[in-house]
């Protein structure tokens, strides 16, 4: 980012307020001017949101991918190990497989918690700065 000082967020032009029908005249300003995306993108708040989001989802994606791949490689090349019995006829392979289920659910719940705490409030903030109601 080359932008040095992000402008105050509250200054974004949202829907221009209409006072007593002054703007009843057909406005020449195109409706598609919309929110100033470049400005939002360069704001500190957005930068923080993106950093937080990527800081969670990228490492987590790598983590579950590597863990899944490890499991697949073990199933392909370490059959003896996977066949070791742990409790009764339940072997290491079955336990590791069930652990994949558990890790998937745990990651899902962690992401849900993370998003509620760190993503949603920031999105709300950025949206309200841009003058857009939260849905």
């Amino acid at each position: 980012m080359t932008e040095v000082a992000p402008s105050p967020m509250a200054a974004w032009p949202a829907e221009p307020a209409a006072f007593g029908g002054i703007d009843r005249m057909p406005r020449p300003a195109p409706r598609n001017s919309g929110p100033d995306f470049a400005r939002i993108q360069n704001s500190l708040e957005f930068d923080e949101l993106r950093r937080r989001f990527r800081g969670f989802v990228f490492p987590t994606s790598v983590l579950f991918f590597v863990w899944y791949l490890t499991y697949v490689l073990l199933a392909a090349y370490a059959r003896g190990f996977m066949g070791l019995k742990v409790i009764g006829s339940i072997n290491v392979g079955l336990l590791l497989g069930l652990l994949q289920f558990v890790s998937t659910i745990v990651i899902t719940l962690c992401y849900l918690r993370f998003a509620r705490r760190h993503i949603d409030p920031r999105v709300r903030q950025i949206r309200s700065n841009a003058g857009i109601a939260d849905t």
């Binding site: 499991y71 998937t104 999105v123 950025i126």
Partner: protein, 524 residues
């Protein structure tokens, strides 16, 4: 070998499902005259509803009958499918669901073309959507033929063709009358039936073995030709080094492909915002975790109570494991219900694929490429409906022609296509600033054609006893799953296309718009 249970009862239960769902579809559908209604059900579903519908869209007959059968016959290796199909959803949850919901409106093409040159990228996205949907659909329809023989006692080819036609016509009715809203309700009903059925069978089986997994496994091993080895990996893929590599390639396609399936991506547009899209995936993951855990018990249960020899000797071979088990534990009534659920599964999945393919054609190809966006909503919906009828017709013809062929590999192939063409382009366009139109086209067409070429020169097509053409041998590529080569190849193509075409600068303003919109929903 004759059919199982009472074909008349199976038919009645299935007919009841069709009538009830058609009534529901008719009741919930308004006129579906706008694109937002027809493609996205007005984005009015809640996260939990959509989560269950995603489950319904995703769990095909292959997941239910195929996985249970694979576990019953090959043992542990079948379970590996369950795990891949489930873990794959983390990709959708973490990387795609919310961003795709915020960025697009109706199709995958909306996301990919957002900041690129519209026409070529939409053409590529539509090509990939249509190819994937067609392969996936063919597998489902061909499976219907086998199921008919097994469950309804229809053994003549003409009779089976007739049933496939009926299945196709009902599916077209769902899509035409109900649009996305009606189709979604079909998915919800079907998912509820399927998961409930799997859970009930599981609880019953566990009860029979005193709630001891170990006892169930022992009995399964005792009753299997493979003995103790049934509980270890390697039953299906462990015989040669090539088979092991093939298995790794398949695993990669499963985990990376699910989130790139166009009919899955399209479901995210049926909810109002990103938070609901996130909740959808969370609900879907929970429902599927329960379902896939149940397939493990059902699969080993079938090995224990029915036995692998009896399963392999029956009409549907592996696919008959779950129905045979249902008959064993619950008699004709439970078999009838399982049969109906299996049919409902095919119907619902094909309906979901049809609406996706028709939306992609009408929205990406007709409205944005042919008419360059100068068309109205009613006109676009008209084209989408006509396309749905044509696609439905093709599915019927394809299903009849492929009946009896071993086309189960087409599902794995659809995942490989999705992982090789859609995953790379979606990741790049959502997260890589410099990614441009050239990169998108290279990644998409590169991945797709790499897959097609590798499959054409694989043992699937020639040179093996199970090949499509048994008498010739022109196979050059040893693996039946292209993913391990085609997925990295697609990423490489996307990178090279972007870097080499330096004149094709990414649109900075559009990139800002897309990034802000994807993370915050501003402008969506």
């Amino acid at each position: 070998m004759t059919s199982m249970g009472s074909p008349a009862l199976n038919t009645v239960v299935f007919a009841a499902f069709v009538i009830i769902t058609l009534l529901v579809v008719y009741r919930v559908s308004n006129r579906n005259s706008t694109t937002a209604d027809y493609y996205a059900a007005g984005s009015a579903f809640t996260g939990p509803q959509n989560g269950v519908a995603i489950t319904g869209d995703y769990l095909s007959a292959a997941s239910f009958l195929g996985i249970a059968g694979a576990i019953a016959v090959h043992g542990y290796d079948g379970f590996l499918y369950s795990i891949g199909f489930l873990v794959a959803w983390l990709v959708a949850l973490l990387l795609f669901a919310e961003l795709v919901r915020n960025t697009g409106r109706f199709t995958m093409g909306d996301v990919l073309a957002y900041r690129m040159r519209q026409r070529p990228v939409r053409a590529a996205a539509a090509t990939s959507t249509l190819v994937i949907s067609f392969f996936y659909m063919l597998a489902q329809m061909a499976g219907a033929g086998g199921l008919v023989a097994l469950l309804l006692g229809v053994h003549s080819k003409t009779g089976q063709a007739l049933v496939i036609t009926v299945v196709g016509v009902v599916m077209i009715l769902y899509v035409l009358v109900g649009g996305m809203k009606g189709t979604t309700w079909v998915q919800i009903i079907k998912a509820a039936m399927l998961v409930l059925c799997a859970v009930l069978m599981t609880v019953f089986l566990m009860g029979k073995f005193g709630f001891s997994i170990s006892a169930l496994l022992d009995e399964a091993a005792n009753n299997s030709a493979r003995g103790e080895l049934l509980l270890e990996p390697g039953g299906k893929y462990g015989k040669t080094p090539i088979a092991k590599l093939d298995f790794i390639s398949l695993s990669l396609a499963l985990i990376l492909g699910a989130a790139g399936l166009p009919h899955v991506l399209m479901r995210f547009y049926t909810v109002p915002n990103a938070r609901e899209a996130r909740r959808s995936v969370v609900w879907a993951i929970m429902a599927m975790a329960v379902f896939y855990a149940a397939t493990l018990v059902i699969g080993y249960g079938a090995a224990a109570l029915v036995g692998s020899e009896k399963i392999l000797a029956s009409t549907g071979r592996e696919n008959s494991a779950a129905p045979l088990l249902a008959f064993e534990i619950g008699g004709t009534l439970l078999l009838g219900i399982v049969a109906a659920v299996a049919f409902a599964t095919i119907l619902a999945v094909v309906a979901g694929l049809t609406i996706t393919a028709s939306a992609s054609f009408a929205h990406d190809v007709y409205a944005n490429i042919f008419r360059r966006g100068r068309t109205n909503s009613a006109d676009e919906v008209r084209v989408a409906r006509r396309t749905a009828v044509i696609i439905g017709g093709l599915a019927i013809i394809g299903g009849i022609l492929a009946n009896g062929q071993n086309v189960a590999f087409l599902v794995a192939l659809a995942f490989a296509f999705a992982a090789s063409a859609n995953l790379s382009t979606l990741i790049y366009s959502l997260f890589w600033k410099r990614f441009n139109t050239t990169g998108t086209l290279w990644a998409m067409y590169g991945g797709l054609s790499c897959c097609l070429v590798l499959v054409f020169f694989s043992p699937l097509v020639s040179g093996a006893p199970s090949s499509m053409f048994r008498d010739v041998d022109f196979h050059l590529f040893p693996l039946t799953n292209p993913g391990i080569v085609s997925i990295p190849f697609s990423f490489l193509c996307g990178y090279l296309g972007t870097v080499l075409a330096s004149s094709d600068r990414a649109d900075r303003a559009k990139q800002a718009e897309m990034e802000v919109r994807s993370l915050t929903g501003i402008g969506a």
